[in-house]
């Protein structure tokens, strides 16, 4: 099955790329979109088949010079392939409607979406260092071109593209360094060879390799403090590309960590996984805090991606830590939670980014303070975003709840088994997961309540129009997947267990089709029964209220109480900024918001106020503190180096001469 579906997926996406390149503007959008969706569907089939145990490998010696290309799919790669494919189906369907306007139906964006998808299907299927790095770089370049697709209309897009280009290539450099060093020490560049040689390497060398690849992959996954590109690039990309990046591409950073850390290096020291766990925890907290105070809908979602990837890394780190301390069952449980959260996050983040794109498409703004009142003008988008927000807020009826519950279970049960290290680490980790879950609820209540309900806060929101059918179809598919994952995670868990077994071998950590049982632990949960109970309770309560309200006969319609002062205006509503203000105040020390109050008095008297300007901005503090000084120093060094090149040819010839002579002298001394 895999041997047919995987080449079919690649073939269809490449065909879509060709269609995007050669077809005229008329049929281009639909043809490329449908072919890309087909490629995504084939990738889902291939991934699912690989997860069911249909391992597949191929060697194409002539494709790449020197090394040749090696491809292989195992259950772990299959999981990421299937997730990528599913996201691509939704994004491609959505893209057919979304790219109609704004110059997005040009050759470059239409070609690059399928190329991006092809690269993302190749990454989890790569089975040698060179193939992996090539696919990785292709993925980075294709996504970079897509991020800057709208660079003509907005200046921020260019800045975002620059940040992304630099960060992704720095990441590539460290991954390249790590994997090349690993391959050199192992005398093989195929993953099989690396796996076999890993045990023979010295511990320090393995640690260095892990450190390097972790830095690179963590940057791709948007883990703080390497996340700075993500909240810039994801909002500025076209929305279907944001969905692909935020729901599929960042996952591959986690894939890299799991593949290299667990599979190729075969586990490792406890400090590796402590590092992963700490980075994940920091990212989860920082991400959700920034999301909670963000006023831009897509920026909010981008920071929420940082948070969710942080939670996934908490699971991955905990799993590695348990594996080092010998707790196999717990290790498998933590990794199951992490991988299930990847699937769940991909589902709801696709839906949310696509819905945010519909809002942008319908109103022309992403500023939550200027939205509102979309319930009447965009009912379908509102309902779909509501589903996504529920899914993302880790409450029952949402799919995020299931994976976060599993994650918490694995962290809580760590106490009796592990040593001192786990006993000290796990309580803060539990606190981090709990706090981020709580803040996530506030964040999504804000995003949904302020963005879609109440009255429109601007004329742009007033004139909103509903998204066309293809966009709604893309969102509906994502919503359907989310709901299925939420009420019956038991359907995907057996397949997921095989993916987990690649990295953390052992018995299935979670069993049972309807009620989830944790192997070796005393935890059970049934998402379906919880959902049914909640549904019955809510419907019952509503019916009861209706009956109680209709029993009294005399009813009077009164106007809305507005303090007797006439109709209330939209300016009296909560805005995103005012909703988040208490949180911002509580976490003042972490967020360090910049507030600016400017009072201009009248010319006649200093006591009479003419106008008041109030500006508040929550910047990325990590970027401000960590990156700005480096950038300033680099700029200053560049300015200083300018003095070396004053345009005189004689001077340049002199440089060449002295360098050459110096080299010869150095060689004469050394040899």
């Amino acid at each position: 099955m895999t041997s047919v579906a995987f080449p079919a997926a690649l073939g269809l996406t490449l065909l879509a790329a060709v269609a995007g390149l050669v077809l005229p503007r008329g049929p281009r959008r639909v043809t490329a979109g449908v072919l890309t969706a087909g490629g995504g569907a084939a990738a889902v089939v291939a991934g699912a088949a690989a997860m069911r145990g249909g391992d597949w490998s191929a060697r194409l010696p002539g494709l790449l010079p020197l090394a040749g290309a090696r491809l292989a799919l195992d259950p772990l790669g299959g999981l990421f392939l299937a997730v990528t494919g599913a996201v691509a189906v939704c994004a491609a369907l959505y893209g057919i409607g979304y790219t109609r306007h704004g110059g997005l139906d040009g050759r470059v964006p239409q070609t690059m979406v399928p190329v991006f998808l092809a690269a993302m299907t190749l990454v989890p299927a790569a089975a040698s260092v060179s193939t992996f790095l090539l696919a990785w770089e292709l993925m980075a370049l294709a996504s970079l071109l897509l991020v800057v697709a709208e660079h003509r209309s907005r200046d921020e897009v260019r800045a975002a593209g620059l940040w992304y280009a630099v960060m992704t290539h720095l990441g590539l450099v460290v991954i390249l360094g790590g994997l090349a060093g690993f391959a050199a020490a192992a005398h093989s560049e195929s993953f099989e060879g690396l796996r076999a040689a890993a045990d023979g390497l010295p511990a320090a060398g393995r640690g260095a390799v892990f450190l390097a690849v972790f830095a690179g992959f963590a940057s791709k996954a948007g883990i703080a403090p390497l996340h700075v590109w993500l909240p810039r690039a994801h909002p500025e990309a076209p929305s279907h590309v944001s969905a692909l990046m935020s729901a599929a591409m960042v996952n591959l950073g986690v894939y890299g960590i799991v593949r290299v850390g667990f599979d190729l290096l075969g586990g490792g020291a406890a400090w590796w996984w402590l590092l992963v766990l700490a980075a994940g925890g920091a990212s989860a907290l920082y991400g959700i805090l920034q999301a909670a105070v963000a006023g831009d809908l897509k920026r909010l979602l981008a920071y929420s991606t940082c948070e969710n990837m942080g939670l996934v890394l908490v699971g991955v780190g905990a799993s590695g830590l348990f594996a080092v301390s010998g707790a196999r069952a717990l290790s498998a449980l933590a990794l199951t939670a992490a991988l299930l959260h990847i699937v769940n996050h991909a589902g709801f983040k696709t839906l949310l980014f696509l819905a945010a794109g519909s809002v942008l498409h319908g109103t022309g703004t992403r500023d939550l303070d200027a939205l509102g009142g979309l319930r009447t003008t965009m009912p379908a988008t509102t309902a779909l975003f509501g589903v996504g927000a529920l899914m993302a807020s880790a409450l029952p009826l949402g799919n995020g709840f299931v994976s976060e519950w599993l994650l918490l279970q694995s962290l809580i049960h760590a106490l009796p088994s592990g040593g001192t290290l786990t006993a000290v680490t796990m309580p803060p980790a539990v606190a981090v997961v709990a706090l981020s879950a709580g803040l996530a609820i506030a964040t999504f209540v804000k995003a949904f309540g302020v963005g879609f309900l109440a009255r429109p806060r601007s004329s742009a929101a007033e004139r909103a129009r509903e998204a066309p059918a293809p966009m709604l179809a893309g969102m509906a598919v994502a919503a359907l997947c989310c709901v299925l994952l939420a009420i019956s995670p038991g359907a995907v868990l057996p397949a997921l267990a095989r993916s987990v077994a690649v990295a953390a071998p052992g018995p299935d950590a979670v069993t049972g089709p309807v009620t989830l049982h944790l192997t070796g632990l005393a935890g059970t949960m049934s998402p379906l029964l919880i959902a049914a109970f909640l549904l019955v309770a809510v419907v019952g309560l509503l019916a009861l209220l209706r009956v109680a309200a209709t029993r009294r006969t005399a009813r009077r319609r009164a106007r809305l109480w507005d303090c007797g002062a006439g109709p209330m205006s939209a300016r009296m509503e909560y805005t995103a900024t005012s909703f988040a203000e208490p949180l911002q105040r509580v976490f003042d020390d972490v967020l360090a918001p910049e507030t600016d109050l400017d009072v201009t008095p009248l010319k006649e008297s200093a006591y009479l106020v003419n106008s008041v300007t109030y500006r508040t901005r929550v910047g990325d503090r990590i970027e401000h503190r960590l990156y700005r000084p480096v950038l300033t120093a680099a700029a200053r060094a560049g300015e200083a180096a300018r003095g070396l090149a004053n345009g005189s040819v004689h001077r340049y010839v002199g440089y060449g001469f002295y360098t050459f002579t110096g080299l010869l002298i150095a060689l004469a001394v050394i040899r």
Partner: protein, 161 residues
């Protein structure tokens, strides 16, 4: 904080002894209200003399709350409207809307001479009329301004306690 508690202890009870309960003024309304009246106060254009006396009536000395009368912050929570002052042009619509916003059954109390018949502000250019000209009045408390005892007595007539 400690000073506050000490002061509370030292001051003791300042509330006046309750006089005998007066006869209910609106017996059928008092039955509906069951001894507890939530009151929304509307200043329709008062000189604030009546407000001072209302504050006094609900203060620690006269303590109208012990008889079941309570001031609330929204007409939606209220059983009764306590209106002071002549109704000015700017407050006419607001008073009508506040009256509409009070759930049935409701009572309107006109407090002070201005509320009853415009007092010294009768025929003034900014005055629409007495409270009774704008909304139906059920109970009047005379005085310019009425003494706290009179206000408490009228409210007790409404609560029946």
């Amino acid at each position: 904080m400690r000073d506050l508690f000490r002061k509370i202890r030292k001051t003791g009870r300042v509330a006046q002894d309750a006089p005998r309960a007066p006869e209910p003024v609106l017996p059928e309304r008092a039955r509906d209200l069951g001894g507890s009246v939530q009151i929304r106060h509307v200043d329709a254009g008062s000189c604030n003399g009546c407000e001072v006396e209302i504050a006094s009536a609900f203060g620690p000395v006269y303590d109208a709350e012990r008889y079941g009368a309570r001031q609330v912050a929204s007409p939606r929570h209220a059983d009764a409207l306590l209106v002071t002052g002549p109704v000015t042009r700017n407050m006419e619509m607001a008073l009508r809307r506040t009256y509409e916003a009070v759930p049935e059954p409701k009572v309107v109390i006109a407090l002070g001479d201005c509320a009853r018949n415009c007092g010294v502000f009768a025929e003034a250019y900014g005055v629409v009329g007495a409270v009774g000209d704008v909304v139906p009045v059920d109970l009047e408390i005379p005085g310019c301004p009425p003494e706290p005892e009179a206000i408490v007595a009228a409210l007790r007539g409404l609560t029946g306690r």
